[in-house]
Symmetry: C2
């Protein structure tokens, strides 16, 4: 690396940016030189370059407490407002977009309904419209975006295309990452929805601080996202956690039937229908109580399979079942009975926002890798 001045510049830039981000409120030249181990002239040169890109500015209220005499020392800060990150969930019944600044701080959110049977083009158009409306409402132009994270059902290939998805029409084979790159003109990171959700819960939700986590997204076809040693476990072909098919083997009832109260199937993704059943169960309707009990039993079986296979420290229950007040406690009790080592069980802290929040985290991870890490090949 001795012979490559541009690599050296990148390394210095990354060091200064990291120090500014860690400091939060602003750093003097002296602080930055001390933290990074670089000379003051080098730090000054790096700051000038970063100021030109817009990523660094002088901190306001620059009268630093440390400067006791003469002119107060200039202080610098990371400009989290220099760009934006978009986190997107493309689901069966709705699309959601969350806008955040370059520090990952949430600035706004929009959700629109979409028909379960909507073809892929219509679903993508709904997403584009939702994102554009959100940006417009917040006075942000598309050119401000630095990265887009996406969570969607199915098995996602390494190139961001949907390798397989039974839930959304026309989704299998769709080059989703490519389409969204054409739309937003920035890097797009696509991930399975349950995988995105567990990243979101670990970032700012119920799995903060946990390294071995299984998150179950209860729904029409339950899926799970797993962290092993703090890292997403995608599996050999990206299909890890796709436990929706498990009940087919046991010839058990489908969730529609599990939730039905009078022979009429209830779509577990239809929140109003599910809410009706839950309300009836709470009111003491014995058929609704039975339906909820059957659903919990099925969910317990799916979660137990994951827990026995992976042995996590924590299970997070998400999707609409997170709102099922009676699911966490019985689930834990059942796992205690059947698992050799039962993990903690908690409800999602992010609820319906877990997938989109995880999608923001994907975009932020990409940005941080780009800004704060330098490799020999970078």
């Amino acid at each position: 690396m001795g012979g490559d001045p541009s690599l050296l510049r990148k390394i210095n830039q990354a060091a200064v940016l990291r120090a500014l981000r860690a400091a939060g409120r602003g750093c003097s030249l002296t602080d930055l030189a001390a933290t990074t181990g670089l000379s003051r002239p080098t730090v000054e040169g790096v700051l000038e370059g970063l100021a030109r890109t817009g990523l660094v500015a002088e901190a306001e209220g620059a009268a630093a407490e440390g400067a006791r005499r003469g002119r107060p020392a200039r202080r610098y800060r990371f400009r989290a407002e220099a760009g934006r990150l978009l986190g997107v969930e493309v689901g069966s019944r709705r699309v959601t977009a969350v806008l955040a600044d370059l520090a990952g701080r949430r600035q706004g959110e929009a959700t629109r309904a979409v028909e379960t049977e909507a073809p892929a083009a219509e679903r993508l158009e709904r997403l584009a419209h939702t994102a554009r409306t959100l940006l417009g409402d917040l006075g942000v132009t598309v050119s401000a975006l630095r990265a887009v994270g996406v969570g969607t059902p199915g098995i996602i290939g390494q190139d961001g295309s949907v390798a397989l998805c039974a839930a959304l029409p026309g989704w299998t084979g769709l080059p989703l990452g490519e389409r969204l790159r054409e739309l937003f003109r920035v890097p797009v990171l696509v991930e399975n929805d349950a995988n995105a959700a567990v990243l979101g819960e670990r970032w700012v939700g119920a799995a903060a601080g946990a390294d071995d986590v299984v998150m179950v997204l209860a729904g029409l076809s339950p899926g799970a996202g797993s962290l092993i040693g703090g890292r997403l476990h995608r599996g050999h072909g990206g299909a890890a956690g796709e436990i929706g098919a498990l009940h087919l083997l046991g010839r058990q009832a489908t969730p529609e039937r599990l939730l039905s109260t009078a022979g009429t199937p209830v779509d577990p993704l239809d929140e109003r229908a599910v809410t009706r059943v839950l309300a009836a169960a709470r009111a003491g309707d014995p058929r609704a109580e039975d339906a909820v009990a059957r659903f919990v039993e099925r969910l317990t079986h799916d979660v137990a399979a994951l827990v026995l296979a992976l042995d996590p420290e924590l299970v997070v229950v998400g999707g609409w079942a997170a709102g099922l007040e009676r699911v966490v406690e019985p689930l834990h009790r059942e796992l205690e009975r059947y698992c050799l080592r039962a993990p903690r069980v908690v409800a999602s802290a992010l609820g319906g926002g877990a997938v989109a929040t995880g999608a923001v985290r994907l975009a932020l991870d990409h940005l941080e890798a780009e800004l704060f890490t330098v490799t020999e090949t970078g």
Copy 2:
């Protein structure tokens, strides 16, 4: 590290040993200096030290092809016979010991039956006797042992004690590693039996070259060992793959009942009883055929749970079910139907020897870490 001559010596030793092991048949001083980048006097000093420990000797048939004139160059080799490794399986119905040299080459094996209900002390005594007999028959003293690997059912703690084991009486809470260290006076590595088995299959069996593997040990309570990215996945508390409890949740029949042909339960660990049922099924006895079909269905469900959770590239079926000629093909067919991405399914190549072979691999891994790697703290 500049100031620690003993660390430098270890690094040089490790480099020379690694080069000798890789070369296999013998290396000249010139070869070793070239491979390791060390000076000839340094290599000579290291070789003298290693010869004193017995780990290196002059290769026989020292007339090297490379030496065209004068006295042939001396050649050196790693002395795999300088010590022994022991791999042990302590199971429900038998104990097995395998002896290997320091290159992991198998030199002999002994197996003894033990009662399923035998208390822990009797099981340990049977193991000690089996190992001593094997060593005696091969003319090897206990002092030649360098490490012992052990595979046994249950959840194994990091200190080599049995945290939980439902299958063997008195096994839960047993400080198994400590007991065997007292017996053999060398490092003892204890691992769950299915975990040991998947290491064995990857080393010299059906999983060679595969990095994402699930190995199922079919038996009274099926267990699984998993490799993720080539490394054992033990889980947060060492309980990963303990899927034996899964069927309890689905209220399915126990394996004894699954295999019964006339209302009499058949113990799946009783090889003779199982063999009778399999033979009857092959002969066309419809009740036996039904029993085998029920067992395969149950096994499919357990394996599917693991496959859906982990998404491996390969499933290895071991335990006695590996001999079940009709298990691999239907299992793969069922997985194709229900899993989004079905892995390859193969029968164990090591059969009943998988666990003990994996235990040898554990001992070899320990030896190699000791001999061939040097860390700053080492």
